[in-house]
Structures are given as C-alpha cells and as structure tokens.
Point group: D2
Chain length 500, copies 4
C-alpha cells in the first residue's frame, strides 16, 4: 500500500492536483515565514533606491555600484533557493542589510539605509507584493469568467429549474444561471482593478512618515518601480498600513461569497435528491470508513475559505480603528493576515473552473424538475393576463386556487379541470383549451418568451454574452498594459544600473 | 430647572446640536421602521413602471392614468406626513398596493404588480436609496476635505510634534498632518463614487430573478429613473441582494476607520498631558458627578460607531456566504443593517469638521514638544551624513550614543558635549560648532528642508494642497452631474405622465 | 380587501403570530429608544440606593422618604405607559432625576445622586436588565429542549436517513437527530447560567470607578437587589462595560448557530427534492407574484438573525479592545447592540418549537431515502468484519468495489452479485446468503444494533433522553431559585421602604 | 556586525527572549503543519481504542498487541523528532495508519480503523489538544494574576491618577488599578475552566456521527483518556465541530481584550507626556532610522493579537452557521484557526507579567498628576455634602463654578478664593478654612476615606487581595486535580497495555 488514499477503490479517478491541495489544507503543509515572499520585492526596492541616491549624488557612484552589485548577487542566491532568512535578524530588511554589511563592510553596507526607514521599506514591499496579487486575482477571474461564458454559450437553451427560498420558482436556462455568476464575478474583477488604480502609488521616500531632508527624487523611483506616481503625502501611507490590505481583503471576501454561493449551489444540485449535476470523481473524496462516499469536499472547503476571508477582513479592519497619529506596530500583523488570505483564496477561481468544466449535467433530471412543484405557475399567471386581459392580482388568485386544486388531485402541474374550477369561482367564464394548457407549461416555450434585457430567451442571453465578452476584451488589454508597465520598468532599471 | 444638563455650569457653552444627538445616541430616540424610508423610492419606481406598462401597451392607458394619479396622490399624503405603514401589511410594497386597491378597486389597483415581483421591487428601492446615500457620503466627504485643506493651508508652517508608536518621532507641521487625513478621506470618497459607477444600474424588470414574458422596456425605465443602464442579467441582482449593501458597508467602515483614528488622535492631543489641542466646550460633555469634567464624548462615540460599522459589515458579508441559487429571504436583514450603518455614520464627517473647525491650537505646547524626547535626532543623523559624509549606519550609531549621553545629562535634546563624546568613541575627529547644534535642532529649519514630494516643506505641502484641490473640483463636477441625471429623469417622468 | 396578504389563497392557514412578526421584521416596526427598557431597572436601583443612604444616615429620613415616594409614584406612571423619555434630557438617569427635582425641588431631588455616578447607575441598570435576559433565554431553551425530548421520545424508532457532506451516510432515527440538537442546546443553556453566576454581582457603589468617601453599605444594596454580592473592585465593572454584553453576545451567537443549522436542515429536508418534512402553512409564506409558493421564510430569517448575532458580537468585542484606563464613552454603544441582539434572538427558540411541533413527517419518503445512495454500505462493512473476521480495511475495500459494481448495475443498494464479484477479486471465497443481504440492509435492524452510548438503538436513545430529562429538572430548580431570589429581594425592599 | 539589531546602541539591554519572538512575529518564522501538533494525541487515542477493542474481543489479542507495540514505537520515533508527516497522505490519521500497514501488513494495520471514523478521530484529537490548551491558559492566567496581586500588595498605598474618557477623574492607588485587571483576568480564567467542564467529554465512538454496531465500551476509553464521560449523543460532537473551538476562541478574545486594554494603558502611561511609567529596555525596540527611539512594540503587538483573536473567532462562528445535518468538511478549517489563535495568544499573559514586573514607576510624576486637572474636585463635592449638608446637586454646582474660577486664575486645583466666590453666588455663607482646603485635596487622605467594598482605602484593597488570593488557591487545586486526572489515566493505560 503505497501512498494510496484510504478510500481509493470507490472513485474511478485519483483526485486532481488542486483538489488534493485543497482537501489536505494546512494539515500536512506548514506556511512560510511571511518575509520569504518579500525578498524579491525588497531587493527590487533597494536597487531602485540606491540608483536614485547615486543619480541625486546623495551616494557616491562607487558605493552605489557596490551596493547594486551586492543586491543583484543576493537576488541570484535567493533565486537559487539559497538565501534563508535568519530569525535572529528580525525581518527581511535587516537580513538583507546585514548581509550587505557582512559582505562589503559598514562603509558601504551601512549606506543602504540612507534616506530610508523600515516604515517606508515595508510599505513599499507590500505595495509591490499586493500589486502583483491584484493582477493575479484579476487574471484568474478573467479566465474563469471566460470559461463561464463558454459554458453559458453552450447551455444557452438548456432548460433548468430556477429556485427562490430553496423552493421551485420559475424555469430558466442553465446558460442564464452561469451568466448570472459571470456578472457577479465581473464586478469582483473590477474591484481588483480599482485597487490597482488606487494603490499603485509609490510610498518609497515617505521615510518614517515624516519625509527626509535628503534631495531624493520620488518621481524617478516611481517610474522605475512601475508606479503611477509617488504617494502625495508621506504620512498617509505609513499611517494607513491597513487600508490597501483591508480593501483587498474586501475584494477577496466579496469574490469568495460569490464562489461560496456557487459552491453551495453545486453541492445541493449534486445531491442524489436534486440529482441535476454529478461532480467528477477527481473533485470528490471518499471516506475512511464509509465505502459508498463521493463527497464534494473541495466545494465545502471553498465555503470554509469564504469564512476565513471574512474573519481576516475583520482583523484587518479592527487594526485600523482608532490608531494614534503615525506608524503603529499593531499594523505589522496586517501582513500575515493578507498573505494568508491571498494564499487561501487565489487558487479558488481555478479549481472552480475545473469543477464546472468537468461537471456532468443530467438533462433528464432537469426536465423532470421543470415539471414539478408547479414551477410553471408564475408564467401561467402572465399568460392569463396576456390572453384574457385579467388584472394581474385576479389572475394570480385564480392560479393560486388552480394550484391548490391540482395539488389535491395529486399533480405537480396545473390541470385544466383545476383551472376551470378556479376560473368559475372567480366568476370568469373563459374556456381553457388543451393546447393552451400544454403550451403554457412547456419549458422551452416559457423561456423563449422572456425577451426583455436580462431575460432567458436565446437572444437576451446572447446580448448578455456579448456584453460580458466585450468587457473581458477590455480586461485583457488592461492587464497586458499593467504587466508591461512593470516589465518595462524592470528593464529600464537594469539598463540604468549598467550605466553607473 | 428646565432642560438643563446635569453638568451645566462647568462648560461655557451648551453642546452643539450634532454633539447632543451624538451623545444621546439611541438612549432617548428610537428608530423608524425601515420601510418608512423607502416610501418615496417605492412610489417613484411604481410610477415609472406603470408608465412603461402603458407605453408598451401592457396596461391600457386608462388604468395606467388612474394608477399614476393614485401614486402621486399618495406621494403627497406621505409628504404631509400622513401616510403611515400598517404593520399588518408586511412591507412598503403591500401597503402601497393595498392602498391603491382600496381606493381604485381590484380592477385597477390589482394591475400594479403586472410584470413585477417584490424581489425586483425591493432591489430597485434599495438601489435608489443606496444611490442617494452614496452621493450623500460623497458630498459630506467633499465638504470635510475642503475644510481640512483650508486648515492645512492655514497651518502649513505650524510646527508640530510627529509620533510613531506613541513616541516622539520627528517634527512636522500641522498642515502636513491635516493633509494626510485629507488624502485618506479622498480615497474614501472614491469608493462611494465607484459604488455609484458599479451599482447605478436598474434591477427593475428582473422580476423574481427569472425575467418575464411581458414585453417590458427596461431601457425606458432605466432612463426615467436616472440609471446608467439595466442590470444585464435578471438573476444577478436578486441573487446578490447583499453585495451593494456590503460594498457600501466596506466604504463606510474604511471611512470610519480614518475618522476614528483622527478621533483617537484628537482625544490624545487634547489631554492635559499632551495639551496640544483644546476642544471647544460645544463638543465636550461634563459629568453627572465630577465637576471638573470636559470629556471628549463625541469623539469617543465616533470610535464606537466605527466598531458598529465593522460589526454590521460582518453581518452583511456573512449573509452573502453560501447562498443557494436565487433569492433567499435571509437577505432581507441586509436592509436593516445598511440603514442602521448609514444613519450612524453619515453625520460623522460633518461633526468632525465642526470639531476641528472649533479646535483651539496650543502653539506654545507644540513648540515645547518639538524640543523634547530627542525628537530632532533623526534629522540630526541626516545632517551628519550630509555635512560630514558619514555612512548612514555610522551616523545613526553616533547619534544613538549622543542621545544616551544627553539623556544621562538630564536633557531631552542632543547636547554638544554628548555629541563630541560620541564622535570620539566612533573615532571621528569632527568639530561640532554651536551654530550647527542650534540649527540642526531648529524645528522651522528641519521641516523646511524636507522638500521631496510628500514632504513637510512649505512648497511640498503646497503641491499636496494643489493636487487635492484639483481632485475636489473634479468631485464637485461629478456630483453635480449625477444629481442632474436624477433630477432631469424626474422631470422627464413627470412630463411623460402628463402625456398619457 | 382588508389586511389580506398578497398571497392569501395558496395556503390553507394564515401565518402564525410569531411567524408574521418574524417575516415583517423591522420593515414596518421601529425600535424603542434603548433607555425605555431601563426605566423600571433604574427606578429599582434608585429606590434601593436611597433606602441605603437613609439607613447609613447619609441622607435624612425625611428626604429619603420623599424620594422613595417620588420614585414609586413615577414607577406607577410608567406602568400606566404615561412616562415618556424627554430626548432633550440625554438619558434615563437624567430624565428621572429631573422629574424628581421638578416635583420636589432641588433640596430633595438634588440628593438622589449622592454617592452615585451615572457610570455605576448604567452599569447597575444593565446588570439588572441582562440578568433578566439571561434567565429568559435559559427559560426559553428549557422549554424548547423539553419539546425536543418529547419529539425524540415519539420518534425514537423512526428510521431516518443520516448525512455527511450533504451526501447519504448512514441510517439513523429521527429521535437520534432531535436528541443531538437537544444536546447542543443544553450547552447553550449552561452558558446563560454561567453568565448569571459570573455577573449577578452588584456594581452599585462603584461610582465613577473610583469609589466614594460616603459610608455606603454595598452588601445591603446587593441583598435588596437580589445580587449574590457586590463587585469586589470598583474600577473593574466600569472599565469592562462591554464584557457582560459580549459574553451574552457569544452565548446568543452559539445558540443561534445551533438554531440556524437546525433551520438549514429543516429547509433542505422540506424541499420537494428531499421531501422528508413538510412545514405547516402557518410557518410558510407565499409570493406576491408566484402562485405556487410555500416558502420557509421564518426559517430563513433565523439564519439571518444568526448572522446578525455574529456581527453584533464583533462590535461588542471590538469596543472592548485597547481601551484606556477607566470609563470610555465608546462603551455606550454596547447597550444598543446587546439590546438589539436580545430582541432579535429571544423569540427564536419558541418559533422553532412551534415549527417542529407542527411539522408533517413523511415516513414513506424517509424509508425510500434509507434505500438509496448505498446508505447501508458502512454497516455492511461492519457486518463483514463481524461475520467473517475480515480486517476492517479489507472489508471496506470489498464493499467499495461492491458499491461500484452495484452502481453499474443501476442499483442504489448492494446486490449479492456485486458483492460476490468483489469478494472473489479480494481472493475471499465466502458465500453470501440472501437472508444475510436483506438483513444487512434492513434499516430497523441496522439502527437497533448500535447499542453503544450515544448510539441509535432504542435503549441507547432512552439513556440519552433520561440524562437530558434529569438535566432539565435541575434547570427548572435553578431557574425557580434565581427568580425567587429576585422576588424575595423586591418584597424585602418594599417592606423596608415602609419602615422608614 | 554579528546578529546585532539595527538599533542596538540606544538601549541598555538586549530584548528579552519573548519580546524578540513577539516583535519578529511571523516575519521570519513559518508555522508548522497543523497535524504535527496532533501526532501524540492521535497515537494516544489509537492506543486506547485498540486496547478497548481487545478487551471487548472485537480484535484478537495478538493483533491488538502488535498494533499497540507499533503505536508505541511510532510515538518514540516522533519524540525523537524523526516522524514527519507525508503530505501525500492527507492527514495525521492516514499517515499513522499507513505507517502501521507498511510495518505490519494489511492484516494487522488494516484493523486499526475498526469501529472508527476519521470524524470521531479528529474530534477526539482536537478535544485532547484543546483540553491541554484550556489548562495551559488557565495556568498562565493563574501565574499572571498572582504577580498582579503581589504588585497590588506592594502598591496598595501608592497614589495614582485615575481617568475616565482619557481625562483626569479621581485619585486612586496603583494597587487599585492592578486589582481591577486581576479581577477581570480572574473571570477569563473561569471561562477556560468552564470550557474544560463542558467539553472534557469523550467523542471517541461517535464514528461518522451515527455510532457503530460493534460492542465498543465508551466508558472504558473515557476513563483511560482522562475524560469525565462519553459524549451522550454520537451525532452532536460531529455536527458541532466548531463549538469547542469557538467557545475557546471567545475565552481567548475576552482575555485578549483585557490584556490589550492593559497594553494600551501602559503605552499611554509610558509616553513622555504622561510619564508615569517607564518600560524596561528589554521590552522596547529601537528604530532602524530614528536614534532616539524606545518603542513599546511588544505592547502594540498585544493589541494586534487581540484583533487577530476577534477575526479568528468571527471565522469560527461563521463556519458553524447554517450547517446541514451531520459532518460538513467546512469545519476542517476550524482546526487551523484555533491553533493559530492558541499560538498567538498563549504567551501573552507571560510577557505581560514580565513587562509589568520590570516597569519603572515614576512616583513623582504620579504626585504631580494628582494635583492637576482638578482631579480632586469630585471628592471636594463629597466633602461639601458631608461637612455642610448641602444637597449633592447644589454642592456639585458650587464646585463646578469653583473649578471655573480657579481655572481662570490659572490653577489646576481649587483655590479658596474661587470656592468662596462660588459659595456666595449660591447664597451660601460658609467659611472656608485653609486646613479644610488642604485636606480636601490631599491625595493620601482622599484615597484613605473610600472605605466601601471595592474602594481605594488600604483596608478595602486588602479585602480585594484576600478574596482574589483565596480564589487563586482554589484555582491551583483545580488545576492540579485535572492534571492528575490525565496523568493517572495515562499510567493506567500503560499498565493495561502491559497486561494484554
């Protein structure tokens, strides 16, 4: 028995890679020191800072050259996985400075911190890190929405039972359902974009929050770091070292709510009782003890991660309440919370795309459910209003009674006898033809008639797909542009480093 | 003894109107039924809906005319304060429909709900209500930021002790401090604007979430209600009846964090121990038992309201987690939470503006604090680097020791003897002149030298003021335009009502 | 059309009174000023305080007599509903003192506040109020648990499909399910009891938090107010005016989680798809637009109220974080939050009892579900181990394969052919008799065999019922004793008031 | 430059070990896989389970002996740090079972899971783990309260300025302040005890939640695991795998609020402006850039950890809301949250004890503050009432005016001239003697007169110390007894293992 699961035989497939990581969670994997993630950002920031010091003649070229060389050497060591943070040296900033001092002596290494404070150093590192996170979430959502649009296109005419209050409401199409989630994820995407527009500003040069008397050039560093501009007030980014974190926290929490509601929807529709969907074995797990089990664990874990997002956001906001003027060490913890949140939630759109992509759809069961629970009754009311000009309230009362009588007959659709009795009681002498009854309760006919914007007809869904597709094109352009802003800045930095 | 407070004699002024409302809170004032606030929005929505029904020939003109007349009559009754919701009729929608049926009979009143559901009715009402809230918060923030800019302009050169970790850090100016809060509130303002851009879409016509077979014209109603466009998917706004609420909740919570940190900052600076500010009597309260008291209650209450915001946001997000497909009644409660939040927090920028506007600033105490706690030491280090070209780390170590020795001498500024001793120990034979010592610790000189973007010099602050002023101009234009969009839509609606 | 609902015809019954209040929520009902609730507690505290002042000769008997008479008069006015708080007088304390001064002059009315502060006054009022809340929750839970025990007794042998991960797990009995909720609610009950044990201490006499030089007798007031003893440190109850509130908040939130999970369980089992339960019409609502609807709104609202509890607890805890020494006005808001929470959640056990009491149980559907989804497989594994002595892991693998083969045959129970094939593959030459197959998958037989403590057999459930019944008896005794402590204290107070 | 801090010279001492760990946080230290912590508990549970299976003849003695031997071997390997969880094997349970199967073959290793499910296995592991946590928190609090009592005893007569609303309120003693925190921590201690009383029940044998047909003996395993009894319903502990976690989360959050408020109090009193306390260098950190810095970082971090507690509690409660019947995988995440919370918060009482133990107390500054801000005014009012029999309200008004006039004279204590003027205005011809003025504002005299229970006099504080000391004795007894219950159970288990 190698590394087989304790429930291997029931399922035809091994778990998908992401599913395995999801379900084992933090049981068997620890988490990295937070600052490990910041090493490349910290080095990038210091390279830029030193170059600027040299340009501004705050630092002699010779020292600057040595420092830059040291930083680039260290970067390579780190890329080879050979630079480990020494816990006795507090944090990433001290580790790197100490390494430089050890290598080049205090004369040179001791100059790195000129016109600098750990306050603006960590503010910078976090902006760089979070900026990448924002683009990554944006990118993941773009891909998932694309996938949903493809599914929606495919299932544009697939009739599907719609619910409210967990009870049958009205027939719709599966395409309509997928599009509704795509719409909500599209807003989630916007929030990450807005985060980027708001916070892609350079805090470097803020120092302790109170600026510096050195003649630093913050426009220069902003350009070389791919920022839109420097933060216009040095105190603000230091004082508010919870706000970019909390805003991203909210964007993630909102996204997770949509994904968690999608998860809950899939969980219920995948029960034997609903039976509308069947999850692929690769996204199910078995039980250590119950042989029949096909459990939707990855989906349940998405719900847990959504709860995690809410708690971490609560901590982020709590820290930012009632802070006294200037930097407060309390805010250090925001780093751990937002990093945890990103790690937890960034892979969720992808696994959800895989789950939906591999879903088996039981059209027979959908058809059955579209004939149950009097799910056609609301459309029946509309027909009565449209055909015979009844006031809506009267039509509705009529159908309410018709439902009651049909139910007494044992049915789950409206019968013509029940409708006739009900019409009579309302004093309406209208003749109900069999063709009318059939058509009024025909799913395809029903969904095709809802032509208004946002509706379920083929054309209406087409319009929705078109507008979302156009939005996605804009998203891809924006993302490419932002990535280019970063890569060009890095290239320019490397070139200028050559020149000193 | 009329309505005198139990602590009347100590303070020279009666509490300001807003201060009184803040401090008595919900002790002596109850809260309205939630739907009272929605009456005008519900009527507006129904007027527009009926007009559209008539235009689309879904409803005969005669009935439409009667309904519109009824709704406008009811609107006037409500404006006179004579329409009260009847608790036995569930909600605002049922109350209004029942009133129409009572007045015009089922034949006419019973048509109001044609092509409509309470699901889209409440979604619409909440959008209209929240849209106004977003503009109101935006407007309040605009005014408060303007006030802060004026204060910043006035105190652009007023030296002020800057802190980190509640300990003296570096000298700054009061203008720099006000601007830092203005910057953060400017981001808060943006969030309300983004809320408006994202959610000023029309959910009317979504029905139960599954659209309708009536030939409704959603573009028409969107225009007449001042929306940018219809929601493109009928299920989405119904499914997510927590999201506009939660996003506004986050915008409020972030704003409240800034205001609550400002409150905490003012509370501490107004203690006798710090003594930098004195609150106006109109924003203090006394004690029922302690005669000497001048308590900063309104500021403390702002902190409480920030905690309230965080809790209500937690509820809003919790509701939206793991919802099953379609409308869930759980979301009804989001209405109460967001309304409570708006009521609590909308007046906060205004009272904060009043408090700061009436603050007495003790410049003497500021000057004293700018000579204590070795607050000039960081700038001293920079001077050493700049004057004598010491590596930063060495300069810093030198000043660390100089601080230690000066402290041993009983001082709170660096003495020349201490500095000399420290320099010697570092093996540096540098001569310290008295003029250097004085200038290096001169507050005005210190702040004037920080010329970088975001810095504390007169010019740097000027740039910050300019950019924020420009941003405010844009804000005012945007606000005016959005208000006009609404008012023009209302005018157009009234005109078209005349024409049928 | 009187006050008929817009969905009246579908349902056979009007909504139950509590259901109606639940579903209309705060739509059509506002909330009282918070201090309205405190009037009787404030008067009781003041009567006791004045009596003590007289006993200790701090106040002359004549003045004391007048004050007590005044307070009792006011109490009667309030009981007749004729005392309304005047918003211009801040709070309940000022309102009452002002009333006394207006009636008896400053000479007498002005003595009420001797040896007193609003800080200890509100701390006292809240203890008295919350103490009653704790007993009320305890009492409501006691009744609901009793009802669950009765249901459990009745359904002790009713087989029921058990789930994990929303998927069929093992057969159990409905009695077992009810008992599991009873167990968890029993812990909720304990928490309210512990609250009472911890906080039934008298804060009166704490003054501003720093005690008094008057020779007050705190043991005397404690006895007359039904407290166990005075708070042993005057600063503690004033400093922590969030802690009794937050602890009750947690007790409520935990209880609401149990009730909300019960609600979710009932909602799913009441869908047509599960079909195991049918809610009574009196606890359903219809739709304004969909004629067929029977929605489980009161249950959904319980879920919303649970989210409310979590948010309000978050606010309560947030307020108590990082407070400076002594009273902080921030804590005033804890009053509103806990009162809102109590109002929202106190009626929940009762409506849940009504819903379960009126539930229709579909035993046929239960039986069907006990034959589906291979729900008997885990017990089948145990049979294999017991009958043939297979190692558990091998038995499980065998059944896993048997499930897979049976599923391929189109069944949802294990077939003997599938089992035989699977046994063969494992190299086990065991003979499967038909009687064995039938018995191994017989629900009654299965549940009866689980005889361990906590198990599903008739006897095991009986033991659980017995232990819970015994616990309830203790609860009733404790409750009666605590109520008596209060009523006897009140009687003694009234007697002593006669004597001065 | 070895591992020196970047701010080494300013402070006379290196940071204390705990302070260093606090301030570096998760920057440079990662976190363990969650299940690493559970290895010993999981092994203990399995040893007990196997022994019971043998005793009940469910498992032959031979197999049982082999399994027990294997488990004990593995335990030793783990104790030597040589057992690492293999991430490909999901969790601790699968890792251990796989190890046994690899070592002893499926015949033997495959029997471990007989009458067992991972559901009850993890429920058991977590109870064992959390039970130890509860005792550890209890123990840490006991030690810290003891230290506070010693400080209180020592500072029983040290006068201290009391505050409300951040403003001077009344003079107290430092002993009174320490005792108030001791009182609140004493309640925190109770909550961990109650947790233990409520949850020291054995979930083993619950299986999947639906019990087992094996003749297991749950009383036997309960005794050998040191539990008070088995959980009385098998479904309850599986369904509620968030509740022990959330209740401990609340206990921790409440404790952290007390400690965080103590932290905030120490932070403010340690500013130069208040100047009442001076933190020891070992609990301060410097700055990378500002040479003068002595920052109270460990205290600030305590505030951050309190925010962390609130967020994690929010997640724990969120998970438990609206769960469907039976185990849900969502609850797996509760493990990570509660473990994180325990790791963050368990060391806090200890570091707080160290910080307070090393605090330098500036009695001169305390004396100065006891003469400022009219802090004696409330006691002055009481003197007027007591000496001259003025009604309280009139006395208070008189002193209010006296404060106002004294302030106009430039003082911060009440002058006799101001008092005389005020008395005259009230029409009171009372003669103010100089001795009266002096005594009425003498701090020692003031605190000595407050003799009521909970008050500030020497005797009153003594009573408070006595009652808390008695409570501590009870705590130590209880703790010893619970630890003995565990150790005796372990001994008994080992003995019985020898016997089979």
């Amino acid at each position: 028995m190698k590394t087989e699961k304790l429930w291997g035989k029931r399922l035809a497939k091994a778990p998908a890679a992401l599913a395995e990581i999801f379900t084992s969670g933090k049981d068997v994997r620890g988490t990295l020191p937070a600052d490990e993630r910041l090493v490349p950002y910290d080095i990038l920031g210091s390279r830029t800072h030193v170059l600027m010091l040299a340009k501004q003649k705050i630092l002699p070229k010779k020292e600057a050259r040595a420092l830059i060389q040291g930083l680039r050497t260290l970067e390579k060591i780190w890329q080879r996985g050979e630079f480990r943070l020494d816990p006795s040296k507090e944090d990433v900033h001290s580790n790197i400075e100490s390494w430089l001092i050890a290598k080049y002596g205090l004369e040179i290494g001791g100059c790195l911190h000129t016109a600098r404070s750990r306050n603006d150093q960590i503010a910078l590192d976090m902006r760089l890190y979070l900026r990448d996170c924002a683009l990554n979430f944006f990118s993941e959502l773009t891909s998932f929405i694309k996938a949903l649009l493809d599914h929606a296109q495919k299932e544009r005419s697939t009739i599907f039972p719609g619910y409210t209050h967990h009870q049958p409401a009205q027939i719709t199409t599966l395409g309509h359902v997928w599009l509704s989630f795509a719409e909500s994820l599209n807003r989630d995407k916007q929030r990450f974009q807005e985060w980027h527009e708001r916070f892609n500003q350079n805090p470097l040069g803020s120092m302790t929050g109170y600026s510096t008397s050195f003649a630093i050039d913050r426009n220069f560093t902003s350009r070389l770091l791919g920022f839109d501009k420097p933060c216009p007030n040095s105190l603000d980014p230091i004082q508010n070292r919870w706000e970019p974190e909390a805003e991203m926290g909210f964007a993630i929490a909102a996204m997770m709510n949509h994904l968690s509601s999608l998860a809950q929807t899939l969980i219920l529709f995948s029960t034997g009782e609903f039976g509308v969907f069947k999850l692929d074995d690769a996204y199910c797990t078995g039980s250590s003890m119950m042989p029949q089990k096909r459990n939707p664990d990855p989906l349940e874990i998405i719900k847990a991660k959504a709860a995690s997002a809410q708690g971490l956001l609560a901590s982020l906001l709590s820290i930012g309440r009632s802070l006294f003027l200037g930097y407060n060490r309390d805010t250090q913890w925001t780093k751990y919370w937002i990093m945890d949140l990103v790690d937890e939630c960034l892979p969720v759109p992808k696994i959800m795309a895989e789950i939906i992509g591999s879903l088996r759809i039981n059209k027979d069961k959908m058809t059955v459910l579209c004939q149950k629970g009097f799910i056609t009754a609301p459309d029946f009311v509309e027909r009565l209003v449209q055909e015979w000009g009844l006031p809506f309230r009267q039509a509705k009362v009529t159908v309410e009674n018709a439902v009651k009588y049909s139910e007494a007959e044992g049915g789950e659709q409206i019968s013509s006898s029940a409708l006739e009795r009900s019409l009579q009681e309302e004093g309406l002498s209208l003749k109900v033809e069999q063709g009318f009854m059939a058509m009024a309760q025909d799913p395809k006919f029903i969904v095709s008639r809802r032509k208004a914007i946002g509706g379920t007809s083929f054309e209406a869904l087409g319009r929705n797909i078109t507008s979302l597709t156009r939005s996605l094109q804009g998203s891809r352009r924006w993302l490419a542009q932002k990535r280019k802003q970063q890569s060009m800045a890095k290239t320019r930095l490397a070139e200028m480093e050559q020149d000193i």
